[in-house]
Symmetry: C4
Subunit: 370 residues, 4 copies
């Protein structure tokens, strides 16, 4: 029966029951064999927590900042395309939910609500723009300018999608954006309504047509030139690429594998996080997304050096379950779990967690010991 959800996995089940197959498969899929999809979640289980005890944890501070802006919780909303397939209020509902808990919201280039509409409905809440670079550089530039004008506080350039990863269910379903919806940041018909296909994944056809596969490091310089907003690269999982990002003067990196939807076989993001944090060595902010499903997942990512985490699918599940209220519940649940786990670690703040010695170790610490 449909009883109240008590954990994030409950939302997944409820969403599955309420979404169309076209939407559910699109939201849930990972690339090809979906090994990384499962690994993103499983990998968190390969780390052990080593708590401090007998510290006063009556008052804990779980706030932090992202690109200089305060957030009440280190858990923000990642850009997911086409939210209106989950709920009629789509991106606006999600953005409002984020604002109501003092968190931030990342709008997808492929949102079913425009930058301006989201801005109007959410005032000066904390928002960032996720950017895909189109072959049409002018429309790309306009997206950046519009976001800046609407008070968005950063641009997250997605770097893991020169081409779309292969998702078998979308191919099987001939995934298409329902005809009553469109990619609302675009006016040109093909750019707004081109996510459809009769024999393939509609998004794959769209990306082949629109997205620029020649995206290169010089485009980062171009982006930094056309905006005052901080620039974050989203989709880096290696120390080598992190070092290049730092060399290009970015303000942040999201350790991300696009929710395991692009190249199957890349590391789980929690496994990739330590080498990126190590390589960056404080020279820019490092965030993580992918597989975050509980407060201890948040705790582990923060403990390993992430400034904040972003969540993708759980927000879509919240939307599908109960619109804005559903997303608020998801965020509150993760907040409460994170706070509880921080207290049980004997820490009063994120700072204490990150400065502790050996508060988190890989399971090899215990399993490989001789």
């Amino acid at each position: 029966g449909a009883s109240k959800p008590v954990c994030i996995q409950d939302f997944e089940q409820l969403a599955k029951e309420s979404l169309t197959k076209n939407a559910w498969d699109y939201y849930s899929s990972g690339a090809t064999d979906e090994q990384t999809l499962h690994d993103n979640c499983m990998a968190f289980k390969r780390y052990r927590l080593r708590p401090k005890v007998l510290n006063d944890v009556s008052c804990v501070d779980i706030s932090t900042s992202v690109l200089g802006q305060k957030v009440d919780i280190p858990i923000c909303i990642a850009s997911t395309a086409m939210n209106k397939m989950a709920d009629p209020c789509g991106e606006i509902a999600a953005a409002k939910a984020a604002a109501s808990v003092g968190s931030g919201f990342m709008l997808s280039t492929w949102a079913t609500t425009s930058i301006e509409e989201v801005a109007t409905e959410t005032g000066n809440s904390l928002k960032w723009m996720q950017l895909y670079i189109y072959k049409d550089r002018e429309v790309t530039k306009q997206i950046v300018k519009r976001a800046e004008k609407c008070g968005f506080k950063g641009v997250f350039l997605t770097v893991d999608t020169p081409v779309l990863g292969q998702r078998y269910k979308d191919v099987k379903n001939h995934f298409s954006l329902p005809s009553n919806l469109k990619l609302a940041n675009f006016e040109v018909h093909e750019q707004a309504s081109g996510v459809k296909s009769s024999d393939n994944s509609g998004l794959s056809d769209y990306v082949n047509s629109m997205i620029d596969p020649s995206l290169q490091w010089s485009d980062v310089k171009w982006l930094k030139k056309i905006t005052k907003m901080p620039v974050v690269l989203k989709g880096i999982v290696t120390s080598e690429m992190a070092l290049k990002a730092v060399a290009h003067g970015v303000d942040g990196i999201v350790v991300s594998n696009h929710g395991a939807r692009q190249l199957d076989g890349v590391p789980a993001t929690i496994d990739a996080l330590p080498e990126v944090v190590n390589a960056v060595n404080g020279r820019c902010e490092v965030y993580l997304d992918g597989g975050v499903r509980s407060g201890t997942d948040v705790l582990k990512a923060i403990a390993l050096g992430a400034k904040a985490v972003f969540i993708g699918r759980p927000v879509l599940w919240g939307l599908a379950y109960n619109g804005e209220e559903g997303v608020r519940t998801v965020l509150s649940m993760l907040k409460d779990e994170f706070k509880n786990s921080l207290q049980l670690m004997g820490c009063r703040s994120i700072k204490e967690l990150q400065e502790g010695q050996n508060l988190i170790v890989p399971e090899a610490y215990y399993l490989s010991r001789l």
Copy 2:
């Protein structure tokens, strides 16, 4: 059908069939994803035994001592709250069963039988008091004083519960102590009958209200001052915290993760035991609880340096199955299995087991070999 149990897991199945959902879920739950719940048991399987052969094992001595008091078996009863949900005689039945096999009994602060009633019914059998420190320091001090007056031989201060861990099933069930029962160590209504909720885990609400989350190391000093009883810290899983405990002059440490009910993702207790034993280096006693389900589990913990082990859920299963007799059967079964495994290790005593070289190794000894 309900046939006679021949192993500890049989008791689990029998208990599940006879308890209410409210009680079964409360007893069996671990925190959040329950990874550590399963790991507590699974981890024992990651150690290999390397027996001696052709030693005379016709007479084996499986006795030991805890805080200077002799026990006939190195297997004692850990504090579990609210035993009367399992059997009308609750804590008294369990304490009598322990006494009848020459073992010791740890009474929970949240017992459904008072210190005095248990003392009256069990005479001078070996008992210890498990302590939660309440915001109400006076009632806390009284618990300690009353236990001391009733001849309890030690206070086990639980240090892993500044706040309650999250247990999804209790939230779903709105876990409550049945109204005919109360926390019998308290007289004030809210302290005795406050384990209930209409939308959350009743125990979680109770803990938030009553338990002091500011619990800190100075409270250990306070505790040592108000009692002559030996003081043991229950709920340490790291060498760092073990060193602090030793520095505070405690008499013992229980390597414990509260039956995996507090912070999910901490190590299994058998994995944590070696570094604690190593750090303590004989300066206080070290015990283990969590996941002990067979004589070889007992053997492995003792072989790795524990003075004794404590069992939690198996006692509740014994109570649910057949009251005092059920608990006695559980203890006797573990005793016989332990004795049998000690003999098959070619050892005549706990001393021989602990002084042997390489009698127990991590599986890496075999699996990581090149």
Copy 3:
């Protein structure tokens, strides 16, 4: 229902539904416990990809060469016996499919279509001859000569089959080549129609009777003497044997365990590949077959140093599903997946992939880290 296949595993299911039990079991079996059969596929999952980002991947070149002959894709067809059990056009359909995508085809000594018939139907498309050495050295020599005369571009000597491996299902089924088919490269009745048995695997009886178990290194010298075609040894999985092959002046090595059909318990081919590549050190070409089921499998083998990969069972599944068109679909699917994964690795060619540093690592890189 029978919907269009979107991944290689879909072909497997479709083939299973359309083949006779005799044929399906013969095609799908591995030796004895089939551990290596599963490991050939599972092992690919034990490698992690570490992509480059922000490289221009608008134009990628996935061509390479095999023994000096260009192939448009690094994915070729391995020799599988008795293709006509899958489709009436058997080997000719497969060879044509390979030609149509610019790939190469390896004809089995135990083909149900002769060298000459295949050559006639495929013109000068790229073909190689897989060779079993018979006790009858004259018929063996004739096979080599005929292949050379028909323009085949290499002989692949199978070295892992001095005797046939044991496949339980073939024994149970008394596997036999259907009586309307024969091994078309032979004229002598026993050599053409001897794959049958009343109480054993018909192929096992055939091999015991026909194949020379005294096959030794001097036979490699003999083979090099009787042909101008390049000589490749197929079925090497160790550095030691690779070094001997190089010492005997072969032109190539296929790291192969005969699709796990010979000796169960040998390494997965992807696990064996690195030490062979390392030992060979560029002195001959190294290919891989076994367990390749997706574009990322191809990518991993190439990244670890293979010049090209060969596929066995997926071709049979393609034949069973839809003859020549089915095989073409299989090859095109792998090509598209490989190209997509190469782009997502940020590489423009096989050369860039192989020259990259740390683009592929064993999972131990992440899981064994302390």
Copy 4:
């Protein structure tokens, strides 16, 4: 349906269907949690074979010797108690089957056929006596003398059973030897017919009553004094105990954990074998039993240094399936599989297998590589 078995696991299923629950559970059980029971088989899968190729394997010699006596195959029959529960001809059928394939047979002290009867029916075939040392040293000595008189070629002293391991199913079933059978090596009623119980495992009660738990190293000296037969210690799994055995001048060691029926949690025998072989360093023979279920299992044990392997349960399955013929089929099947795997390793004899470099490695060789 009941079709002809093609592998050893087939015999297991057939036996399960034909034996009583009392007998099947007794034969199949391992101690307590049965972790080692599964590990004995699973562990073989953790070794990889690295074959030689292009060696002449047309003639292979799979013979060897045990305690100076030639055996045609390195696969002999281990002592299993109470064979007549599987087949009316019990031990005689098994011994005859062994003789018919040139193998050896180990008679259990707890056989349902006497030493003399077995000797009469099998002539001078190769047989050894497995010995349990009873509290009644005279009857023990007589068993040894009788075996020696009947031409048995060695005594295998079981050292892993000072007390019986706990087998839950036997406790549940109140395992008893059927009343029409008896332990035929004894005349005294309690010693012959005492395997029965009304509330426990009948064998456990018997062992408590009869077997000497004070068995010690001096008893090895005693045994060597009372017989001219070679003495082998059966049930050693560590280098330390192997060194003691060598120091006591034994002729052989069986690396064995009693089919995982004694102490659960000891290493799988194939995992224990290398350190025993290494410690013994050729000073006595080393055999292995436990989990051998295929020719490659035999191959791996031999490759790791065992002189021969012994099988227990597969013989009982053969007996249950088809008496003497069933056992012969089991032995022939293992022989054919072993020979086939030896040829596929490119080896002509056991000597070549054992002298090869790196022909067998632990999986860590591949999985832990960085």
